[in-house]
Assembly symmetry: C2
Homo-oligomer: 457 residues x 2
């Protein structure tokens, strides 16, 4: 446990201090771009350019893509024009776009001025698409084949043009720019005869997305069909690019994180935790806390309205936290389940009646068992063990009836709110715990005091 591990980072710094550049280079080329970038991100700013220049050209570009935007900006500002051009030449278009999106305007101008004409045109095209759309995450570099080509010609074409493409394994068959079908390199290699034409072996029933399709739907399509790449077409059904599986994986991860953040009562953030400043965290967390504080005015009002009842039966107060927590938890169980099922595409809005019916039956089961256990607990622990004589059987009955009803209300609210949110076009995740907690709190207090009024006062 206490063993001191020597990190690559500290080794690199030691070698740098001794100017052992060729040793550093030897170490770096054994590493993967992601890991080099992680080391570079932790380095002092003045060491970064020296280290970066030690990388071979291709590895340099691959590492650059994986680095923090701050470190990228620092490097770009230090690059000569020819150095910048070298890195840009090695980048795939979609990676270049990701970088451009994070940079300030003057850096973007410099990047665009150094990119070759083709790259500049492609970057500008992708930048036109709305954020989080298929168009904004696609790349324009894919292998296109003609339907009349022979398998042999197709393989020749891939060998000639493949080096610049992000993936060569799925090739798209187009005529004009209309998407006719796809062939995989596996199909080509396993074809019996090199003279077979592409249109004889292509899959013509191709699933594609539109440039404006939401990236979440793009990711879902990948996980449904296990594609390596997905073609993106414009409104006129012309092929404009592809999304590759690695970008879809990133989207899946980001969307899950976003859902969790929203469910946890935060506005979602693009930055990782360690990269977020205290100000960032504050900005993302304070809105829901404020809203919750203000909306709790209602629960306060309900309690104030029953103040005289509470003064007469102070023992009732002791059960408020338990009732509120059970209600809140029970509601978020349902909402989290429904929200996740919605975002994985397992549930449709038309399933609402089935969902409600299922939740009501589950709520009755949970509510009744919980109420029974709670009654036993109150009579045994609170009354007998702790000797609190104020806790009568009637009090226990009031508490347990409220508990059962609260669970029912909570599960109903928890399953319906996210589905309604989706129906009116909001993100269902917004309807998770904080929101539901407030509603369920107010409702459970109303139920509590109503039952208490009937049975106790």
């Amino acid at each position: 446990m206490a063993e001191r591990t020597i990190t690559v980072g500290s080794t690199l710094e030691a070698l740098l201090a001794e100017k052992k550049y060729s040793t550093i280079r030897d170490i770096l080329i054994t590493m993967k771009p992601f890991d080099i970038a992680a080391e570079f991100d932790d380095m002092e700013d003045d060491r970064l350019p020296i280290l970066f220049r030690l990388l071979p050209k291709e590895l340099a570009a691959e590492t650059f893509v994986e680095m923090d935007p701050e470190a990228q900006e620092l490097l770009i500002r230090g690059f000569s024009d020819s150095e910048l051009r070298e890195v840009l030449d090695e980048l795939y278009v979609d990676d270049a776009v990701d970088i451009v999106e994070e940079m300030p305007a003057n850096v973007v101008r410099r990047i665009l001025s150094q990119a070759d004409q083709e790259m500049r045109k492609n970057i500008n095209e992708i930048l036109r698409y709305p954020e989080n759309s298929a168009g904004s995450i696609m790349t324009t570099e894919y292998v296109s084949l003609r339907p009349g080509m022979s398998v042999g010609d197709a393989i020749m074409r891939i060998r000639r043009t493949g080096v610049d493409k992000e993936t060569i394994y799925t090739c798209y068959v187009t005529s004009g720019r209309t998407l006719l079908g796809l062939v995989t390199v596996k199909d080509l290699l396993l074809a019996q005869d090199d003279d077979t034409t592409i249109d004889q072996i292509m899959e013509s029933n191709v699933i594609s997305v539109n440039t404006h399709t939401d990236q979440e739907e793009v990711a879902l399509t990948f996980s449904k069909y296990d594609f390596l790449a997905l073609p993106v077409v414009d409104a006129e059904n012309r092929m404009v690019g592809i999304v590759t599986f690695d970008d879809a994986m990133d989207v899946m991860e980001d969307e899950a994180t976003e859902d969790m953040e929203i469910m946890g009562g935060m506005t979602p953030s693009d930055k990782t935790y360690l990269r977020s400043s205290v100000g960032d965290l504050f900005k993302h967390r304070i809105p829901w806390l404020m809203l919750l504080m203000v909306s709790a005015t209602f629960t306060g009002m309900i309690i104030t309205g029953f103040e005289s009842a509470l003064a007469a039966q102070v023992v009732l107060t002791a059960f408020i936290p338990m009732l509120m927590d059970s209600g809140g938890n029970s509601g978020s169980q349902s909402s989290v389940t429904i929200i996740r099922a919605l975002s994985l595409g397992e549930l449709e809005l038309s399933d609402l009646p089935r969902v409600i019916w299922k939740e009501i039956r589950t709520a009755v089961l949970c509510g009744v068992s919980l109420a029974a256990a709670c009654f036993a607990k109150i009579m045994l622990v609170d009354r007998l063990l702790m000797g609190n004589t104020e806790v009568t059987a009637t009090v226990a009955l009031v508490v347990c009836m409220t508990l059962a009803l609260t669970i029912l209300v909570a599960k109903f609210v928890g399953c319906t709110l996210p589905m309604f949110a989706k129906k009116v076009g909001f993100d269902p995740a917004v309807m998770a715990s904080p929101f539901i907690t407030t509603i369920v709190d107010a409702l459970s207090l109303l139920v509590y005091f109503a039952i208490a009024n009937m049975l106790l006062l």
Copy 2:
């Protein structure tokens, strides 16, 4: 909105009633396996075998893999031995294992007896690995090459043996069974000269996982390095299989769902929502609800201990829900953020001091702004607008001081608990909202009554 859409499902049923089998077949072969399976899962049990038998061999196997375990079992029980063998012959080993894992023992025995010897051996090997390990999700069918082979020979080998492999695009170079390196089909196709030997172009610095590596770590490795496939080695460093990106995607999705379920206070479930019975839902939800109900005994005891104070100042009760909700929400903001960062590998246990320092500063910012806003709200809304004269400036002060302290405590508990859970080997997600709510509730009540005692009584 109200337009009636005719579903494929209803069309198929109509055609089935009229016995138009060739039309059904024509429709089905335009569809993707995932979509056919979704239609089949919704069909009446007696129609399923007829429809399934209409599918061409390969499509039938691909569809079979995507179906519900219930429907798979139904089909297997109806298959003749030769039909079963035909489907099995078309399956990849990892898919066959997934199916075997869901079937009752007598069906498993029948599957194993009909599988060919190679398949049976492979299934049994994969079944030996612990659940959720790399070994349990890998496939044993990959392309292996020898270091001395020429590029031309390698391509020939792929063309000859590739048809049965789940992916041909990443080929592994082995000697004996030791993993020496990898080459991609892209490397092979783009190689300048067919006589180049594999060891000259292979990447020898290969990242691999062990058969016992947790599947969550496998998925993280994929999203870090954007691999198509990842080699799995045994304890003696011999290559035993590969995990492909599509399985990694499924793992990522499942792990995110599992984290959300645990955070929402449920034990995780393998089944989708619509497939879960009411009994399943009950079983997964009741444990946390029971635990929360019982642990709320502490909050009840705290309130009972201060009953006389509350009887004298009933107005204090009105703010309990607001204080508890703000604390709970504030704590879950921190815990959700930390839990997600831990499971994405963005945070290490060694980051704990940084995390605590960041959370404390965020908590002070949130606490102070929230307390100030709350003070203004109480004085303006509760006292002036609603004319509640019991709400004095001192009461407001007590509430707001408690609020600020509660936020601080909640954020501290919310960030430290998940990291300690990870340290002692628990799933950090267990430390999300329900758990933290209970702890924060109790602490905030103690703070509340302590401050009230000092300032009010």
